[in-house]
Amino acid sequence: MAIVKMKKMYVFGLKKDRDRILDTLQKLGAAEIADLKEEDIDDGEVTRELSELESKLGRLKMAIDFLKPYGKEQNPLVYGRPKISVKRLQELLSREDEISEVVNIISGFDQRIYRLKAEESRIKNQIELLKPWLRLDIPVENLGRAGKVELRAVAVPKKNYKPLVDKLQEKELPLEIIPIGESQDDNLLLAIYHHSAISDVQELFKEFSVTTEEFSGLKGTPTQIIAQFQERLGAIETERQKIQVEISKLRDHLLDLEALYDYWFLEKQKKENLLKMAGTEKVFLMKAWVPEPSVEAVKEAVTSAAGASHVVFEEPSEEDDIPVVLSNPRIVQPFEIVTELYSLPNPREIDPNIFMAPFFFVFFGMMVSDAAYGLVLSLLSGLALWKLKIKGAGRKLVELLFLGGVSTFIWGMIFGSWFGDLIKIKPLWLNPMDNPMAVLYLSFAMGLVQIYVGIILSACKNIKSGNIADAVMDQVLWLVFLTGLVMMIFPGLAGVAKYVALSGAVGLVLTQGRSQKNIVKRLISGVLSLYNVAAYFSDVLSYSRLLALGLATGVIATVINTMARLIGVNILGYIVMTIVMVGGHFFNIAVNALGAFVHGSRLQYIEFFGKFYEGGGRPFDPLRMETKYVDLEDA
């Protein structure tokens, strides 16, 4: 009973009870409301409410994100999420206008900070432009025409400066230039000339690409202007800090905002489900998926929430898109993550977890295969499970690592590896470095077992769907043939093995081409099908990674120890040695645990699942109290 049976529920009731029913279902978290409508029928009111909710949520989200860096929330990983009671929530809802005002204030701050930033960068740019002019001690508003004299701040490209000066001396214009400074590309000058010479000067300026600086909108000497700017920058900074102080005063509201966000978020989810229902003015029809064990509870809840409703349960039909919930023994649950990462089983097949779990457990340990590493892994993940509040898939993963550590510990004892060769304890069986071939054979044997299980499961699937003939021809014959081939390895069985293999092969040749009409083609397809033996062969060889990765762990651990020992010659050396050992072994654990997880999963996905598993299931997603920031409590 690994995939929980689902029932189809229909609720027929009065429209005024709709909200109440959804409320109870959400609290119960055991029903997934299915879409009854073929297409979106526009339920104007609900759509409008939804879009209002969305904009409300958007504003709250903005305020929360803005306030978050100022808040001093306890890390939810360590302390769990904050809990909000219904009473507190009601109190919050009664003050909603007030809280909405807080959101307005925050959004005002957000804009002010943004404007300050824009102003700051504008001022900084202007300061950069003014800097080269620092030595100009005339207020810039005095530049321009003064009586008969023109006073201009000009910039001339550096390469044109010398020619310009030469030309001036030669031409004897009533023009005086005073060097002020230089910017990156230009020489900066103050040009003083008589008004009568203006056209000559302009001609000259054009020739040497001289540009006039206007300093429009500014007043005072450049030094004064920059000083004013600096002052303004200081003021901006002060204002920003002031805003920050103001904001941090608001940080106590963070929790309120989060609670409110979650409340409206749940409301939104309920409202979205309204759109899935069919109905008329007065009544509605709702379809939902309920796992069989929860049927009674759901029925009870719905009828007590709205007595006038009518509830019917039905078996799902062939075409239904049934959501999937898994129910496995506690010890197998952590392994579900491996399957979930691949694909959930579809509702009409076998849940592979219980068959896959023992293999994954054994393989993981074998690939890390160091007793001390196993202890470290289990201790660390155990500690994390105990101390941290991890939820969902993360929790399953840590639990899996804990179990993997146990397996690693066992294999470490079997192979006699404790931090590589650091602690010498006699192996229960043998050290793979002394006799790798034995471990290689063991790896193949385990692979073979898993492949057999895979073929058998495939046969079960055929039998379950009524194709007993297929099960015999496609799976049993292969089992016979493969068994015969395996038996040939053992000299004592070679005599019998020949006949077993032969009978399997003959059976396959006769049956594998059965989709072909023509008898010759049928036999040819049959013979060709024997080629599949290569696929099984390569599947088995793939399990050699169990040995290879196990060896890798051991050898690297030994390398670390050897390196560390080389250093340990005096006190300082011993300190470094310890660091190398601790760091090195941690690195080795991390790399190999990752490797064991990845390769362990791969063996399941390709070699095992490939034989029988389809996947493609859709996870059961009931309407429930799924919140983002806080836990809402009923009491």
């Binding site: 470095m433 071939m437 390398v559 390769h599 996905y605």
Partner: protein
């Protein structure tokens, strides 16, 4: 100490087993790192997921080091008394180093391409990271197999 050609060949093999897959892994990890940095530049939350992908092509370098180490142990370099290998024995060791050296180098780079593509998955659908990892791990199979071949060859050699 008299140095024999056999010893030189054996050490060349060990050196090759370390540096070729090492070069491959360095390039591979670098490639995935570049792609990962691109993702993280836009979305810093993706760091841990991309880090796992980046680590994947790094194993070939470890396998190479491991093989080199087995050679060193085998020829007595670590114990301090180098065995007087004959030229043929040296060639044997050298030959044993070939699988992981060549496959390690090339598979690291091939794996890096798959992992860099996996980084693209993380960018768009972080919940599907396991699939990206699995694709990259498929490539690693061949590095593991060649490591196994190299190590089994080395374990099988017996020098007096």
């Amino acid at each position: 100490m008299e140095v024999t050609l056999g010893q030189v060949l054996a050490l060349l093999g060990a050196a090759m087993a370390v540096f070729l897959p090492g070069v491959g892994s360095a390039k591979g990890v670098g490639m995935v790192g570049e792609a990962a940095a691109g993702v993280v530049a836009e979305d810093p939350n993706k760091f841990s997921q991309t880090l796992i992908l980046q680590a994947l092509p790094g194993t070939q370098g470890i396998y190479g080091l491991l093989t080199g180490f087995v050679v060193m142990q085998k020829i007595g370099l670590l114990g301090g008394n180098l065995l007087p290998l004959t030229t043929y024995e040296g060639f044997l060791v050298f030959a044993a180093c070939l699988p992981i050296s060549v496959v390690g180098l090339l598979s690291a780079i091939a794996q890096a391409r798959a992992a860099a593509a996996g980084v693209g998955i993380v960018a768009k659908k972080p919940e599907e990271v396991a699939k990206g990892i699995t694709y990259a791990a498929m490539v690693e199979t061949y590095a593991v197999l060649s490591l196994l071949a190299s190590i089994l060859m080395l374990f099988g050699l017996r020098f007096s």
